[in-house]
Symmetry: C2
Subunit: 350 residues, 2 copies
């Protein structure tokens, strides 16, 4: 069943307002969530709305958060998000990174005391209209075991880099540092299909092709083995340790039914955002011309299967966004039920 | 057969001097190369010395290079390496990044018109005594095929992030973005052992466990599939496109017997270096305490096999470095022959 972007956007905004968020912040949070649905990252869109509400009800998300800059240099800042939603603070922090880049070439903002920020690409993409490269990372609650361990110590910790192009769509590299993101695992769970043996391990640390092993106490595996453990670690160190947020096994869970650990070493979860002005390195038009040439070269790279061209990172998401803006966003029944329950609860139409 | 660090260092320095390099630059280049041997990245150490000499003889490496800053803002610079060795320009560029970080919090230097810079970790580690995080990346000649392609379009494009610690060794994440680095492949070639089926593909794009398929016209595969293609791309875009160097299939080969393509879109190969002051984000001691806590937590993570603890990224290299400083550096026969030939050629002792 398909819903229009406008329908989902207004409903989401109104739910956040019912939770005590001001209208400007609610518009922003709704925009970030719906961007996920438009771009096909369905696990990070309205499917999570009821989760944010439950976090609020458990007093673990501050809908009235007043973020503040607690540390600053010309090219950096650290923000305390006041236990608000990452959906709200991250776009504002990205604006600050962009301002700093305008002044001194690059801007970097670490954020502590936050909650999940939706899709990383939303934040990184904000840099592109300014002819900047955008960078966004976040840590997340532990699901991934480091190499040689059976313990969940790291989140799926995504990395996103977005590069502006000229005649082509921008290049957007946006990836979890685990072998598979949760979304893919959930699809396998619903269809009861076997998964590749490098996605999850059992709680004893054994190989498995069963998507349900995560629910049985197993853990996700890092992308490509120990290198993915390194990548997830670097995201955790920048987002968690550098910002003063929690890190590793202490990152608070998104789901409200899991209680956070006591005596945490930091505040909330953490993000790390960056903006680099192209013309802080070379003339913008020269860069754009080379990016377009890069894209042409990769699109024309020799194919293994004549029918399957090389895909430019980010391209499928832009194509889907265009299509879903016209044809609407499909939601599965479980998500629709969730949203209907929220509508009843807050006396809203859905 | 083992050689002392001093022996290899002096010999390497003298070879570079014989090629017309001034003494200060030769000391630097030798230091970078020997660091690779000490840290166990044997493929990137003195094993490559004769390769650098051949590049010089082919008029493709300028041993008398005068690098210059061609673009600059308070937090950024772009350097033209004057066709010199990355071994020489990269440490100097890192000093510039560190200076900029001292002034405005972070410093970022893109380098064009360079040649290979040795191990990324050498450059990133330079930031640590300044209580900064160090970042180093380089693009490299194409060996890796993007997903769905059988064409070599990307280098093994390494990423390195180094983080200072307190009571513990620093955390150093230093990894090729291909599934396996060349070094591992070469070992498999020498021993004629099968390799995992996700390391290389044949020239037709078929799966293979034969390490020789690369020599047969095949290609390396990106780390963990399409995500590794994304990672290698982001390194290429920062090092190649942002700096004005070559990128993708146009990155000039390291080996002198392969001629570079004509009408290249950029200059030489490219690097991207960064330094971020810890106290541009939070008090240094708070960060160091949390890093030590992070390391303790990961070292103590539940093991799958009681005898195999979790490894902190970078730890094995520091341990090997300490050991090799005492017991010397083992070189294989092929490398010893290579160095002896250089000794004869330049009338040096080895």
């Amino acid at each position: 069943m398909n819903f229009t972007q406008q329908q989902l956007f207004h409903f989401t905004k109104n739910v956040f307002i019912k939770c005590g968020m001001n209208e400007a912040d609610a518009l922003l949070a709704a925009d970030v969530l719906i961007a996920a649905d438009l771009r096909g990252i369905d696990s990070h869109g309205v499917a999570r709305l009821s989760g944010y509400v439950r976090l609020y009800e458990a007093n673990r998300a501050n809908m009235n958060a007043q973020h503040k800059i607690i540390h600053e240099t010309p090219s950096t800042a650290t923000i305390d998000a006041d236990q608000g939603l990452g959906l709200v603070v991250a776009p504002k922090a990205m604006d600050l990174a962009i301002e700093k880049a305008k002044n001194v070439g690059t801007g970097w903002v670490a954020i502590q005391n936050s909650n999940h920020f939706g899709i990383a690409a939303y934040h990184a993409l904000k840099a592109l209209p300014h002819n900047m490269i955008g960078i966004a990372m976040t840590n997340a609650s532990p699901l991934v075991a480091p190499t040689f361990s059976k313990q969940r110590m790291l989140g799926t910790n995504p990395i996103c880099y977005a590069f502006p192009a000229g005649k082509h769509l921008p290049i957007v590299i946006d990836m979890a540092t685990s072998a598979a993101a949760n979304g893919k695992l959930e699809i396998a769970q619903r269809t009861n299909k076997p998964i590749p043996n490098n996605w999850v391990q059992t709680k004893e640390g054994n190989e498995s092709t069963n998507a349900n092993e995560l629910a049985n106490g197993g853990s996700l595996l890092p992308l490509g083995g120990h290198k993915g453990y390194g990548l997830a670690s670097l995201v955790d160190l920048l987002c968690g340790v550098l910002s003063g947020a929690n890190y590793g096994p202490w990152v608070p869970p998104f789901v409200s039914f899991l209680k956070p650990i006591e005596n945490l070493p930091g505040n909330g979860i953490g993000h790390f955002l960056g903006a680099m002005r192209i013309d802080a390195f070379r003339p913008t038009q020269d860069f754009i011309n080379n990016i377009d040439n890069w894209i042409d070269a990769f699109k024309n790279a020799e194919r293994i299967d004549e029918k399957q061209p090389v895909i430019i990172p980010g391209e499928p998401e832009f194509i889907l966004e265009k299509e879903r803006k016209i044809n609407g966003i499909p939601l599965n029944e479980k998500v629709i039920e969730d949203l209907k329950a929220l509508a009843t609860k807050y006396n809203l139409e859905f």
